[in-house]
């Protein structure tokens, strides 16, 4: 074991080292938190699909998403699907993206019209809607102050809030449920459904059933639940990719600026030490490694701190803001490691160049 020179030098000015770690952590947290927010948003976006209990989702031909999409199928198609072999249940739903208003407050919702009034999602309060009633996602109900028994306006019609469901709201939108026939009247689309949620019998797999439905029903696209959810996530992913990229770039630039500044100022303050070590016989390569090790350790510590913080945020935030869910995914952590590595490389460049130029004879200069 040698004297741990890099560690000693790094920790000698603890305040500076901590400031560097904190700065890098803040920059990487920006990247990690943003990715986690979008991942959480995607998870919430498909929460309705994931929890619907459907094995196959049937839509108008060419449609395999709900977000930013319209789908219209004749009601008879839903009945025909229900009679197909291998279909245990076929639940037609009507769907309209709209807003729910209470006084001056409003919220964007996916308004779902189905016969069950929001089943199988369990009620957190109240009861399933009857005619003239609506079930709201709880976070939306809280935000609007529209608890059970109060009234809201949807598509120009007043509805009494009969119940609340939980766990479907995201930071961009929420869900509300009414009876299907009622929504059909509101939309003026009687005899039409948006999607058919199909539950497969035990004798058939979802993919096979989807193929069977498409083969038997012209003008439809049948997707397994997983494929439909994946497609839905991709839509939102495509919409947010540029934002995420921009924020990653911002995080990278801030990270490089902080790490570079800390590393360079630390190196400048240690130039004399490097010159002494070189005079004592330290090879140039090892002197460079010493500088790089300090930058690498600072960035690594900053990354670990950022990771700990994003996990802490993921645990704490839903309790504070139910619509903001952070999902920390392995692939996003891997990407943050990549960003941290790039930050370390960029930040180490100037110190390395400076150390490489050190003249060991400068030890004699005063």
């Amino acid at each position: 074991m040698s004297v741990p020179l890099a560690r000693r030098q790094l920790l000698f000015r603890k305040g500076r080292a901590l400031a560097g770690v904190a700065g890098i952590a803040a920059a990487l947290l920006l990247v990690l938190a943003l990715k986690a927010i979008f991942a959480g948003m995607q998870d919430r976006l498909t929460a309705y699909i994931d929890g619907s209990g459907a094995d196959v989702i049937v839509a108008q031909r060419g449609v395999d998403t709900m977000h930013m999409t319209q789908s219209a199928l004749p009601e008879r198609t839903a009945r025909a699907i229900a009679s197909l072999p291998g279909v245990a249940e076929a639940k037609p739903i009507l769907y309209a993206p709209t807003k729910v208003e209470r006084g001056e407050k409003r919220g964007i919702v996916y308004l779902i019209g189905d016969e069950s009034g929001g089943a199988p999602f369990p009620l957190a309060a109240g009861q399933r809607p009857r005619t003239g009633e609506i079930v709201l996602e709880r976070a939306l109900a809280e935000r609007l102050g529209a608890r059970v028994g109060t009234s809201v306006r949807v598509l120009g019609t007043s509805y009494r809030v009969s119940g609340e469901v939980e766990g479907l709201a995201s930071i961009t939108n929420s869900f509300a449920f009414v009876r299907r026939q009622e929504l059909a009247r509101l939309l003026g689309s009687v005899g039409v459904v948006s999607y058919v949620f199909v539950r497969a019998g035990s004798e058939i797999g979802a993919a096979e059933l989807a193929t069977r439905i498409e083969a038997s029903q012209p003008g439809v696209t049948a997707s397994t639940r997983e494929a439909f959810a994946r497609s839905e996530r991709r839509v939102v992913g495509d919409m947010t990719t540029d934002i995420v990229r921009a924020m990653i770039l911002v995080g990278f630039v801030i990270g490089v600026a902080v790490a570079g500044l800390v590393a360079y100022s630390a190196t400048l303050s240690q130039l004399r030490d490097y010159a002494v070590l070189r005079a004592l016989g330290l090879r140039a390569g090892r002197a460079l490694a010493l500088a790089v090790a300090q930058v690498g350790a600072t960035v690594a510590a900053g990354f670990l701190l950022a990771l700990a913080l994003v996990f802490a945020l993921a645990a704490l935030l839903p309790g504070l803001t139910p619509t903001l869910v952070l999902a920390v995914r392995g692939e996003d952590v891997a990407q943050a490691i990549g960003v941290a590595g790039a930050v370390a490389l960029a930040a180490a460049t100037f110190p390395v160049l400076r150390v490489a130029r050190i003249d060991p004879a400068s030890v004699f200069r005063r």
Binding site: S2, L5, F12, A279, L280, G281, D359, A361, F364
Partner: protein, 285 residues
């Protein structure tokens, strides 16, 4: 007669080119015996630091040879110099140049690590040297908390950690009070006479002449015979009579000055500094 450790021949170092060209060292020749203490004195800008840097393998000579224990360091490749420095030289600096982030022990240990000695042997050697330097209970102190004298002892321990053949000391007593300066002189003399280490000291401190076997005067990049130098009666600087820019004849005695300004000041002032002592030859202890 002790064997020769260092042989320097026609050593030249220039900086810059064309009109900005400066000859810092101009054809030095020198031999140093093992266990010898040589004091190099001279005015600022005379080439002392350049000479020391070249001797220590820190600066390439423009031309000439520096043979140390049979190796011409001017001919060593760049990658060969660091390990050669680590095992051949010990450096002692005016400002100590200790690594502030390390303890006293670690400052010694790191020199051993660089030379390839690691782990227990390095720690034991550092501790032995620290104890020998009277740093026993201060070895684990951060060097920032040590006194000037203690710092210099750590620096000396670091310099001798790898049992170098040659110690190069740059103003080793300049930042020390008289007590610690004397202690440093004693340690350097002990190294030379008991360990056989050759010591080259560059300094303005004339007290070091007490321990030096030889004192050399370096001026304008050349060694000059110290005995032939005289002192400027105005400013007190040593001046080579052969190259003095100004002189006056006074009472049958010729006085030499470092500049016309000093001469004029001397002539204008009835009580010039040092004149009462006369301009006496220098160079003997």
């Amino acid at each position: 007669m002790q064997s020769t450790l260092v042989r320097i021949h026609d050593l030249v170092r220039t900086f810059g080119e064309g009109e900005t060209r400066v000859e810092a060292v101009r054809g030095l020749d020198l031999e140093l015996a093992r266990g010898e203490i040589v004091l190099v004195m001279g005015p600022s800008g005379s080439g002392k630091t350049t000479f020391l840097s070249m001797l220590g393998g820190l600066l390439r000579a423009t031309s000439g040879e520096i043979w140390i224990d049979g190796t011409d360091i001017a001919a060593l490749a760049e990658r060969e110099l660091p390990p050669f420095r680590a095992r051949t030289f010990g450096f002692i600096f005016q400002d100590f140049n200790l690594l502030a982030a390390l303890s006293a022990r670690e400052n010694v240990e790191v020199a051993l690590n660089i030379a390839g000695v690691r782990g227990g042997p390095a720690r034991e050697r550092a501790e032995t040297l620290g104890n020998a330097m009277g740093l026993g209970n201060r070895l684990d102190f951060p060097v920032e908390k040590l006194s000037g004298g203690e710092k210099q002892r750590v620096a000396i321990a670091r310099a001798i950690a790898n049992r170098p053949a040659l110690i190069l000391a740059d103003e080793p007593t300049a930042n020390l009070d008289s007590h610690h300066g004397a202690e440093t002189m004693r340690l350097l003399r002990g190294l030379a006479k008991e360990e056989g280490t050759t010591v080259v000291i560059v300094s303005h401190d004339e007290r070091l002449r007490e321990i030096a076997d030889r004192a050399l005067w370096l001026e304008d990049g050349r060694f000059k015979t110290l005995q032939a130098l005289v002192r400027d009666p105005t400013c007190g600087m040593l001046v080579d009579p052969a190259e003095a820019p100004a002189s006056v004849e006074l009472g049958g005695e010729r006085l030499f000055f470092c500049s016309a300004g000093c001469r004029d000041e001397f002539l204008a002032d009835n009580t010039p500094i040092g004149y009462s002592q006369g301009a006496r030859p220098m160079g003997t202890r």
